[in-house]
Amino acid sequence: MATSAQSSATGAQTPVRKKTKLNRWDSPWLNSKFLTGLGMVLFVMLLGPIGRLFWDETLSYPASSPLNLPPPWAPGYSSEGDKPVVQQVQSLRDRSTPTASAAQPSGGEAAPTTASTGGTSLTGGNPLAPKPTAATGGSMTGGNPLAAKTPASGGSMTGGNPLAAKTPAAGAAATPAPSGQRQAVGAAAYARFGVPSWEHPLGTESSGRDMLAVLFVGAPRSLTIGLIAATIGMFIGVVLGFTAGYMGGWVDNVIRTLSDAIIVIPVLAVLIVIGAYVKVLQVENMAILLALFLWPAPTRYVRAQVLSMRERGYVNMARISGASSFSIMFGEMMPNMLPYIAASYTGNVSVAILAATSLEVLGLGPTRIPTLGMTIFYAISAAAILRGMWWWWGIPIAALVIVFSGLFLMTVGLDEIANPRLRGRKAAA
């Protein structure tokens, strides 16, 4: 047997060989779920820097784009949004009187040419227009879907968006309007303001923000809040969890009691109270506020892992070999826990974003900078759903769905990376 030891000793003269993998695609990190999730999150994150390249960010400020106020069903609402309200009302009166009907046929025919100024052809919704003269204006009130879809009638207003053209027609037909005049004004204004157009691809909202710019500015902001809050919370959690688990004794008792006490507090309720008192203006403040409640879960989690790891052979060996507590904790234990920490980190990010969005939807978020939650808040306040302004509430929700799905996929993917047993499940099924 000594000979075998000798023979392997002679083999020791060969130079240390570089470790080679079977091929470079066999890494567990090339997990499809993880990469898809990462791609989705990165996509939202990169909306900011990439969007800045070809879109004007300042359009996200209020009143930088056309307003869509007052509400379309209000009397005295005009299609010509850039005129002062008094003038609008004036022009409306002029037009609704039978004497002004002279303008009507010309408006119908001139539709293709006056596309950019808009409004005139859609005044076909005016009860004066549907006199069976032309297919252009009459089709609108008649509710003929085919006619409504033709670019000559609806398209001139909306930049060719068929949905925008259809909705007012349907809405006008369905709502029992007190008078024909009001119904006509509603339909006209509806199509005119905020609707996605070439000028504003994702539309604008009541305060005059361009939605595309809001998306570019707000979506990365919302994600940043989550990332900062989760990072701070995770850092505190890891440090406290390691201290509690490794030190034990009264340190453990204090930390455990504290984290257990905080974990039962309904976070949202407390955050609402704090948010109502403390005026949150910056994204960073928001993140720190959230981080106050994000550390107990990782603390418990890390502590449990450390407790089980503390008794493992290699930790004992490190202790016997005279390593310091710090190097045992972060040199020996930490590398073993990285996959778990990463998986719970992505989970924590989505918790943080969810909490941040909840606060913002309630109107307690940072007010200066548009975020996804604040956009939803504004949309709710301005009755965007009733007014059919799908682009206002739909875009932030879509962005949030992408972020949450991406984070969820990352969590699942990281779980599979950390736990190889889950990887084979697909093959077995």
Binding site: A5, G11, G313, Y314, N316, M317, G322, A323, S327, P335
Partner: protein, 336 residues
Amino acid sequence: MTVQMERKQAAQHVGANDREITLEVKNLKVYYATPTGAVRAVDDVSFHVYKGEILGLVGESGCGKTTTAMAILRMVQPPGRIVGGNVLLDGIDLVGLNEAALREVRWNTLALIPQGAMNSLNPVMRIHTQIAEAIQTHEGRQPKDKLKQRILELLTMVGLPSRIYDMYPHELSGGMKQRVCIAMAIVLHPSLIIADEPTSALDVVVQRVVGQTLLDVKERMNVSMILIGHDMGLQAQLVDRIAVMYAGHMVEVSPVESIFAEPLHPYTQLLIESIPSIKERKPLKLTEGITHDLRNPPPGCIFQERCPKVMDVCRADRPWLRPIKPEHYVACHLYE
């Protein structure tokens, strides 16, 4: 640095029969506090290890072998506690050392080859990182190429190919991992290595390789070793002297030839009889009875409840270790 100087002084310390003593354990007591009384896991144990010899520490499971080793390393975990006694390593009393001084002694002069080598290597660190860490903890930062040279020499010394330098523990077999642990133990040239059942969970062939490695290392470095185990056959081949433990007490200490030629204590006799022999066919003998409750040992001899040769005096007086033959100590009333 004081530790180093004391070590030099202690080198002049000479044992009873003109052999240098590396480790001297005197009246060591380790008790585990329980709600129903202290469990006397190690009770009044004394022995010594000469320089350059292997002392075998044998006994059945739960007799206090590992606790003794952990007490020497000062690694007894609560509720266990060293209640009394001295552990003199090269003349320094380890029981009285504070944490900082202890950290310097551990691995520098006192190393451990752990029980389960499978669990004693960090699964996420490469072999060379783990060995380098042990070196750098005690000797500070070192140039990379020098460190690599040293680790490769070390691996060669324990008969491992140099390709494992860059490997992870899961890429190695059990025997290789055990030899990596041996390499880690000898990296700082300690004066005493405690090997806690280094060959458990290995098959006999690999056991032999690991045993051979241990012997090679001992010869080359002139290091003292305590080899803990319950495999009498393996002990007979590897060790110079054997210490037999029973229920936290040392019952017999003797050179290996002497103890196998003529075991004196009834417990040792039973232990050696329990080894199945290839040459003769005889029924396997089992020791009757169970060990007494370690919380309240009976007055008199601790082996009285299982001893086939028990006498009245055994129930009254506790026998102490006495030399019967040169270097052969036994704690039994039969030889008064």
